[in-house]
Symmetry: C2
Subunit: 560 residues, 2 copies
Amino acid sequence: MASERYTIGLDFGTNSVRALIANVATGEEVATAVADYQRGEAGVIGDPNNPHVARQHPADYHEGLVACVREALAKAASVPGFAPEQVIGVGVDTTGSTPIPVDAAGTPLALKPEFADNPDAMAWLWKDHSSMAEAERITELAAEHRPQYLAKSGGTYSSEWFWSKIWHCRNVAPEVFAAAHSWVEFCDYIPAVLVGDTNPATLKRSVCAAGHKAMYCEEWGGLPDAEFLALLDPQLADLRGRLYRQAHASDVCAGRLCPEWAEKTGLPAGIPVAVGAFDAHYGGVASGVGVGTLVKILGTSTCDITVAAKTGEPLDIPGVCGIVDGSVLPGYYGIEAGQSAVGDIFNWFVSEVCEGDASLHEVLTAKAAALKPGQSGLLALDWNNGNRTILVDARLTGLLLGQTLHTSRAEIYRALIEATAFGALTIHNRLREYGVPIERIVCCGGIAEKNPFFMQVYADVTGQELFVSRAVQTCALGSCIFGAVVAGPEAGGYADAESAQAAMTGVKPVSYKPNPAAHAVYAELYALYKRLHDSFGVAGTRDDLSDVMKRLLDIKQRAG
Amino acid sequence: MASERYTIGLDFGTNSVRALIANVATGEEVATAVADYQRGEAGVIGDPNNPHVARQHPADYHEGLVACVREALAKAASVPGFAPEQVIGVGVDTTGSTPIPVDAAGTPLALKPEFADNPDAMAWLWKDHSSMAEAERITELAAEHRPQYLAKSGGTYSSEWFWSKIWHCRNVAPEVFAAAHSWVEFCDYIPAVLVGDTNPATLKRSVCAAGHKAMYCEEWGGLPDAEFLALLDPQLADLRGRLYRQAHASDVCAGRLCPEWAEKTGLPAGIPVAVGAFDAHYGGVASGVGVGTLVKILGTSTCDITVAAKTGEPLDIPGVCGIVDGSVLPGYYGIEAGQSAVGDIFNWFVSEVCEGDASLHEVLTAKAAALKPGQSGLLALDWNNGNRTILVDARLTGLLLGQTLHTSRAEIYRALIEATAFGALTIHNRLREYGVPIERIVCCGGIAEKNPFFMQVYADVTGQELFVSRAVQTCALGSCIFGAVVAGPEAGGYADAESAQAAMTGVKPVSYKPNPAAHAVYAELYALYKRLHDSFGVAGTRDDLSDVMKRLLDIKQRAG
């Protein structure tokens, strides 16, 4: 036991931050603690006049970080053989793109008295959509002048992303923009704080954030060029020089834990801190992502993470949000895709349409599970929150088709689940079409943990066996893994991410195997789904849809 | 007061029969009474193994008729100046097509001991759908061999209609078919009973039933020819000779009230009984239908009734269920169209999706009324029970489009109401395209009486002022009107239906005027509705629908 080594992973989510202490040899959880953000509504500061605004106060990050690390260490103290000195590395993942305006020393403006209560000076949370106009304009200008910038991000630049938000700040809060010497991503800021050097000119930036959200790519020399940024606003071109020239994968050490933060947290000073990344990417790593393995993080929305070997050819997949060298596993293209609403659609149906509470999910799941595929005659599109992959279009909406006078709410509930599964299959198919193999699927997240019916529908729709990641706190475990990588073998860690994954990750014994009869029915339904998908989602598609309702009735009759 | 004259109208509905005694000079209701049918479930005898079966026992008709007439007369007795001797005529309307197998004397088989409990020997209620296979085959055979037969009934022969039901009886209950000397429509049977001569060879058949449901038309010499019927089944060709050669409008006297039924009911023997017709058609007459006036009967489903002048040219309107000479007003083409579910769609949403009781309609109506047109971003197709007019397709189903994660049940409720209004406008437009003017719209039925919000949506969608029929019991009043017509001026009645309508019908003082701003938004939404309508309903339509959701969002943004 004396030789056990541990790493600590810090997972900054939307409403709270979690610390996880894991055993480096096995990935086993030793202790975990959560600290809720205290400001705003569950940590999110909105604007009563603009539903698109979502900000967070950096003080919540500092306070939450200290609270959850101390609590996790306190819990671990009761584990036989554990001592804080055995913690050999730190990893950090956060939401993103969540840019923070900072001064020349890297201090967030909101931590300065004059900006303390100004939401525009706080962190611009990933789900802030106030910069839709700027995002549209960036997409237009890039399409015209720098199509290569769009090719890596699915053809559309999002209002959730780095440049949209900063440009919007420039447009609506010029005093904040002027006061900001630079901007840092949340996942860059926390490691910089921990190593005691937040200087924006020198702190190590995450290639995950840079590549997926800031149009950074080594192919064109890093960030978008100044000429292009000047088309947006000359001041953005100016800002470019105060950002960064290079970004890094998470096997790079951001620095060593400084004495100040060692004391605040109780962790040993001097241990290495990994360059940060986004939570979902680390969740993929901790679930065993690799070439041929797709990780699906299933929750209110979903994120699909996989990697592809670098062949020397650039990898562009239309409609796939982000393909970034090193963003998931160092040395591979990291591929991120996802559905902008999955659990959120079922939550919407239960709370807004049925006006039920959370317990209704169980009732509807039980009734929906008693139905056969195709038996309802219903078909839905899973676009209540737009379509992230493969249409990259926030201005798409939901559709439900096939209702009769006897359609029940459980039938609708099932149709919504099936629709999200069809949406998932559409993503898988697109990846395969462009040569990204999906031989194995590992799921994690709340739905994968708690909803066997949902998982079975996904297995039946995709026709593939679905595994569930062994770890529950996958994002935090991903941080632990990179903490072990930057610690290196000499300190009891690992030489690379794959060695760490081999030791620290795994799947649960129970998996979900597709039922061939159900899969056959879903293959028919999927063909109809795809026709609706293209008809409503892809400009130029002209289909004769007059058979759709009748085919559903035929399938229903055979299923009934 | 001594000179007042009255007629009695008998309105046989799906669950009960109503008697209405009206003042012939004014149409004013003097007394009314309802008798519920006693057998089955609310008078409908189903089959636990086949949800499509819906039958009624003719004994319920006899018993209900006596009960409601006696009660109405008893109530009228307290009206100053009323005496039964002042009742100068009887009119009868019923559901249909509701054919009844009878023996050579015209006695319904179900009234004979050996068939008393055999549902196949009872009345085959209008909403019996057990003969879908026969209806499809009739449509196919007519399309191939007698396209003119289909032209008058919208291109499709329905499972609800006369020949489908009789053929199905032949196929599933040959012993009943063999025992049936003839078949009579419900609306033919009741007048025949009242006049004391049910002989199927001589009783006066309704042109409304014959023309709308039995493919009867003077153009081709009455019923479908024997050669065609033999293609269905030689025994149907045989039956043809035991049916009828001519059918009549309701200004024709079916005979005079016989002493037996005068005694049973308390009405004066010898008063004339009008040839019967379907309830909806009489509802149209009592609401003031005429050239340029469309009557909409708004309830669980809707029926649109109007008439067109006879120009010498045949009037064929694609997708319009029935165009029959004299079926509404003698001397005009009667035109019937309709939507197979309207109130039923709102009832479905409340009971099946919201799992609420009837009081939820009020709550949702109040919330829906507070929204602006276009504000929800939703668009629906009103096809939960198929589309009767103008697509004549029972195998179409519902559609709802535009849902987000914030869509409320009240928004959906409103979208469903709007969808039925768009469906109504599609019918109006089709009639106009074929030269049938709609200068004035008069509504009746439960929704017209009780739901001002619904009525305002319809006014805003159609852009036309909507009037509400003065009479509440419009179908029964239609029967009173034809009772007055067959009585004739010499007995204190009228020379024709139009004179009777001028005196006995009217509209309420309150009407619903379209709001121009709302109409402008609905014009945009209707254009999108019509594209979905054609895309999903009309074979061969190939539309690029990728703008639909975005146009709805644009409209939503402007409305919000």
